[in-house]
Symmetry: D2
Subunit: 178 residues, 4 copies
């Protein structure tokens, strides 16, 4: 069973970035998404510090760390104005997007990835497949190993002999529009 | 040189309290004021956890813990709406007042106590005198000792033989109206 | 019910001390005994670091910190030679006595205090009464408060009006030889 | 420049192992050597806990964790009798060898690897080449990544087309006897 294509990010506003970022832009890199809420204690004490360490440990030409502010409660308390001060005070330097509001309480990217809550750490391989979706506190040793395994993989579409990319093919989640 | 009278709190809104709280009401108890900003990393990692431990360790008939939200930067990011969600998520159960806005960036109580920043931990004795004003990270062992020393003191005005309270007397800060 | 007299230390060898130390010598000071085994993980991670902090926080004219190596298992692994290197490597600077071997596995002072295991933190007041006997991890806030309470107490025998010390009197543990 | 062959272990006694262990036996696995002294504070607080986590995180058919007791000071304080109790009390379950005494203070394997002190964490690839030699505290994220990179490598001698192993070839450290 092949790994599903990771759903594209739906972001209403970016911080620490001078333009819109899409997963399509990051094709060829391993992508680490740290989904958090600024008032979630576990995000502040371990999720975000780990994301910052990943950002500093791995080469940014190989691994892209993206923060995603996935607010699903206390919406009025965690506005972009508050988030901007939070990112400044906690010295978080990787790009952070505000997950776009959906119909219910849960924002759109969070829904698309079926996250269980915050913090969630998501790993996407160089071809854009979803490879891990961790909820809660995770071992640094394990995450270090998972990232290195993905960075060590050869991009599949460079290897297909007939010149066709297999990234766009259908999988059990459906057929992506390309 | 006697200890100065602690300036009265200037609070625009209370959380975890069903009515306005004044230092005058707390006469006879040791008062611990934890001054913080919700987006100050040191407040979140050690100042507020210590205040919560003090609240749980000492009898509330002897020691009153008061949080004071002394916002002096990023005012739009730390509104009462955001603070309310913060207190809920971090499970802080002692009363917290919003320090009243002053003329500059620094709020009024923060100015009156000449605090150096956040977190600040202030100790007030049973007669309402200012006894300690700590800025930054402080030793639990030391704070435990300071609080116990103050709770062990007999209220001075119960001891004056001639029946006059000495609490109202003038000190180097001026003469209090009583 | 009065507090019992703390049993005298039975020590076969001292480190960080140039002569034998007895509780009788420490009369007038609050005494903190940290009972430990050098290969006990909880002693190394929190018991001994707290003892060292107490030693550094409180004035040594008021509070005496004593380590007591109470080996009740793996005796051949925790000899005085090993203990000496341990104290050096962990930079423990307060006096440490080796609790004297008794008839069973448990050494004599440990037995006399009916300790539950290691680490144990024992508090003795200025008159030599046993005031606290904590087993396991204890709150720094609480220990700071307990020590300050004891240092704030007036020595009872300075207060007895008839000039007789009450320290030597019998209590429920028996009558001390004086 | 090829990586040097890792020097063979010189061990006088093993714990947590029912027979002698050599690097030759571990050919085909990634080997992690945690060199420590039982009375070295940094070994106890971070080196050994990390080794235990590596032992539990990675499959033992892929990654072999070996402790090495490299005593270079206080020899009389850290005998095998003391080490055995230490391993029991700290619940370390991977094999631990006592590095064989050499001519000076430093034991033989420690000398052969030119370690800088304890803790040292050494990584050896599936062909027995020395790949990393870390001294002091190291990042779990980084070590996780390094181990995963080595486990992901194909053993070189399985890939040589002419059937000759290249493991036995000379390198800057000399020519191994095979």
């Amino acid at each position: 069973m092949p790994n599903p294509i990771a759903p594209e990010l739906k972001v209403s506003k970016w911080f620490n970035a001078d333009k819109n970022i899409t997963l399509a832009d990051l094709h060829g890199k391993v992508v680490v998404i740290e989904a958090f809420q600024m008032l979630c204690p576990g995000c502040v004490s371990h999720g975000l510090p780990m994301a910052q360490k990943i950002h500093q440990t791995f080469g940014q030409d190989q691994v892209a760390v993206i923060g995603l502010h996935t607010v699903f409660e206390h919406h009025a308390a965690m506005t972009p104005v508050s988030l901007e001060a939070f990112l400044y005070e906690y010295r978080l330097s990787f790009p952070v997007g505000v997950d776009q509001a959906g119909e219910g309480n849960m924002p759109m990217t969070m829904q698309a990835y079926r996250m269980q809550g915050t913090p969630s750490l998501i790993l996407i391989d160089k071809q854009g497949h979803l490879r891990a979706n961790h909820f809660g506190q995770v071992s640094e040793l394990l995450i270090g190993a998972e990232i290195a395994t993905l960075t060590g993989e050869k991009p599949v579409d460079e290897k297909t002999e007939d010149g066709k990319s297999i990234v766009d093919s259908c999988d059990e989640n459906g057929c992506p529009i390309t």
